[in-house]
């Protein structure tokens, strides 16, 4: 691309118009030749703002240029009129007012000969600016690009350029768009993938939190980061929390101020962009950073407290019924030492339900974690030690049953047989406990080898044949014809199949039915009501059993949990099986969910990605 010099230019406002509720478009004529590429941005500087006390200060702002390069040397910018002194003043400008333009500056979005076949743009509000000239360029140069715009806004009144977009769509085949006024999700756009072939790029522009959220949604849809490009800005809402407001309320000698200052919980207050405006003494002690160091930074300074949910709620602008609670995040003190924390984030809203800031609290739970770890290690050692005496019991009962030490009468045989069965159960329990503690200690090592999943599944069903026959269950096996070999850890697969199948058998009354379905799931397929993000092996186990009570479905993967409706049925269970299955599936980068209705049955769905990507590294805890 041609290199364009960046300079400072004098310019005069040539027009100013309201293009939607609260949105203004200002066009400036530059006094000398000015060239730029579509999608680039400029800094607009306005003369001294007197009496400016608001945060952030400054007399210039960045704007994407929303028109095409032209001989008249004009540039147009759009923005939302906010309480910020800059925007209040700039958007009040009219014809003849003078401004200084710096730029142009680079662009994330570059259009040209090497552009992709399909371009999907996602714009949040006024961030549509860079996309307008891009669409115009595709039109005027007849570039071979199909273009789809997702346009996210709060409501119709405040959405600029709706008429223009509609006209563009009517007159041009290459362009289509959709406006969305509530939360955006992968489901909204996945259909645009259908029928599209060839290279496709995803361009996203909008407020920082929206971009973060959209990124997450695209990733969920299996879009590679290399096919995405982003441009984000930091919005300032009219009632955004400011340092002054916080100081006013917290830095006095009041009881509340002192209570928060001296609380043992790490407490911070941020503005709507997550920038820290206040931090208490505990925050200093826990993170090791001074208040001065934290102010102006985001909590990323000591860790990643901003979760996906944070972005989602931010973007959804919905009043949360509960705080966001994140258990056991690993943060880092200034000296580099890692610590475990439980974090809570509460949103602060103004009278109009606008998010104006966040309160974050953290508790350092490193000690508790260490105790928990010691306990897990103890369980591991104890289980390990149990194996030797268990071997002795097994071998000697086996020898007795083989009558190597002389003949047993029927009753003796029966008794010894009970001892043997009990001991076998103990071996299974000890194995499970060892697996659980390995997982919790992070020492469960994956040994990835190509697996023929169908043969593997068949062998697992065969192992359980005795139990299936005992209960006179009908067991159906369905396998896709052409299953590729895939890299997996046999030990993990065993945990998944063994537990899901034996649960289905155990929790289904006799003469019921158990179905094992193993098949390929391609990206975009729907399995169990969910969209498949990446090519996976799907393992589906369904039964006509007791089901899981609705009220307890959210606890089903919790360690040691057992549903109420089976506790009374005298069915053996440790409450460790599904916990292990979930941990195993997640370690393999897969996902697990279920559908269940009491007394009708349960279906578990497991997706194991065909290409194993290390999502959760099994590392030794500190």
């Amino acid at each position: 691309m041609e290199k364009i010099p960046q300079k400072v230019f004098k310019a005069t406002v040539s027009s100013a118009e309201l293009v939607a509720q609260g949105v203004k478009k200002i066009t400036c004529k530059i006094s000398e030749p000015f060239s730029f590429s579509v999608g680039q941005y400029v800094w607009v500087e306005i003369p001294n703002i007197e009496g400016e006390t608001k945060i952030p200060k400054g007399s210039r702002r960045a704007f994407s240029v929303c028109n095409m390069p032209n001989k008249e040397n004009t540039i147009s910018v759009i923005g939302r009129i906010s309480e910020s002194a800059f925007k209040q003043k700039f958007f009040a400008f009219s014809e003849g007012d003078e401004v200084t333009i710096h730029g142009p500056f680079g662009s994330t979005f570059i259009i040209g000969q090497n552009s992709p076949k399909d371009l999907i743009m996602i714009a949040g509000g006024v961030a549509i600016a860079p996309f307008l000239p891009i669409i115009e360029t595709i039109k005027t140069q007849s570039l071979p690009i199909k273009c789809f715009l997702f346009y996210l806004n709060r409501n119709q009144e405040s959405t600029p350029f709706l008429k223009e977009l509609e006209a563009l769509k009517e007159n041009n085949k290459f362009f289509d768009y959709k406006v969305k006024y509530d939360v955006f999700s992968w489901d909204d756009i996945k259909y645009t993938c259908d029928g599209l072939e060839g290279e496709r790029k995803w361009w996203v522009a909008g407020p920082q939190a929206m971009v973060g959220y959209v990124y997450g949604e695209l990733e969920k849809g299996g879009i590679s980061m290399f096919d995405m490009a982003f441009e984000n800005y930091y919005p300032i809402h009219p009632h955004n929390l400011t340092l002054e407001k916080i100081k006013e309320q917290l830095q006095g000698e009041g009881i509340l101020a002192q209570a928060i200052q001296n609380s043992a919980s790490h407490t911070i207050i941020t503005d709507a962009n997550g920038v820290v405006l206040f931090a208490n003494k505990a925050a200093e002690e826990i993170t090791g950073y001074t208040v001065e160091e934290m102010l102006g930074n985001t909590p990323r300074l000591w860790g990643g407290m901003m979760s996906d949910e944070f972005y989602k709620n931010f973007w959804a602008r919905k009043r949360m019924t509960a705080q966001i609670f994140i258990e056991g995040v690993i943060n880092r003190r200034k000296n580099g030492e890692a610590y475990y924390a439980n974090a809570r984030i509460t949103t602060i809203f103004d009278e109009e339900d606008e998010i104006i800031g966040f309160v974050g609290t953290e508790e350092d739970v490193t000690n508790a974690k260490e105790i928990d770890q010691a306990k897990t290690e103890l369980i591991f050692l104890a289980s390990h030690q149990l194996r030797t005496p268990l071997s002795a019991i097994n071998w000697y009962t086996e020898m007795l049953l083989e009558e190597e030490a002389g003949k047993l009468n029927d009753k003796q045989k029966e008794y010894v047989d009970e001892v043997y069965k009990g001991s076998q159960r103990m071996v299974n329990l000890v194995d499970t406990l060892l697996d659980v503690s390995r997982f919790e200690l992070g020492t469960f090592v994956l040994d990835l080898k190509p697996v023929d999943i169908v043969s593997f599944a068949k062998s697992m069903v065969k192992e359980l044949k005795v139990q299936i026959d005992e209960k006179k269950l009908k067991c159906e096996e369905r396998y896709s014809k052409e299953m590729p070999l895939f890299n997996a850890d046999q030990k993990s697969l065993r945990i998944i199949f063994q537990n899901l199948l034996s649960n289905a058998i155990t929790y289904t009354p006799s003469k019921g039915e158990v179905v094992l379905d193993v098949r390929m799931a391609k990206q975009g397929d729907i399995i169990g009501g969910k969209n498949v993000g990446e090519a996976s092996v799907a393992v589906i186990v369904s039964d006509t059993g007791y089901g899981i009570p609705k009220a307890q479905q959210d606890k089903i993967f919790t360690k040691l949990f057992r549903a109420d409706n089976v506790r009374g049925k005298n069915i053996e269970g440790t409450g460790l099986g599904l916990y292990m299955v979930q941990a195993t599936v997640e370690q393999a980068g897969g996902s697990i969910w279920f559908e269940s209705e009491e007394n009708k049955g349960t279906t578990f769905y497991v997706l194991l990605p065909l290409i194993y990507t290390k999502k959760k590294e099994a590392t030794k805890a500190p």
Binding site: L390, N394, W395, D447
Partner: protein, 124 residues
């Protein structure tokens, strides 16, 4: 197949005895050691047809004994079954890298199957 010589190296007396009796029952000539050091001495002088080796033992553990055995001219090709408490025990993993051809899992295997495996190895 009769009168093959097997050396059982196992610190737990109860397990050692069970193995001894089961192998004797299958017409093996049995030798015993209660730790790796003793096992190594017996192995190098008696040259058994097969060694059954426990991993966790006092004095010299199974893996240390195994390493020393492989340094010996006779020992480098000796047939060894490694007995372990848990299938993915890291030491077993490293033992496999050192190429012992066979290993077993104590608690999961029936004692008859241990004998059957030994016969299979010696027969093959």
């Amino acid at each position: 197949m009769s009168n093959k010589k097997i050396l059982i190296i196992e610190d737990e007396e109860a397990l050692r005895r069970a193995l001894r009796e089961e192998f004797a029952h299958a017409n093996f000539e049995t030798l015993e050691a209660k730790d790796g050091e003793e096992g190594l001495t017996i192995a190098l002088s008696a040259h058994p047809d097969l060694i059954l080796l426990d991993i966790v033992m006092p004095v010299m553990d199974g893996m240390a004994m195994f390493k020393k055995l492989r340094e010996d001219a006779w020992g480098k090709d000796a047939k060894v079954i490694i007995l372990t408490n848990y299938s993915d025990d890291e030491r077993v993993a490293s033992a496999v890298v050192q190429q012992p051809k066979y290993y077993l899992v104590k608690s999961d295997w029936k004692i008859r199957d241990v004998v059957a495996k030994a016969k299979e190895i010696l027969g093959g």
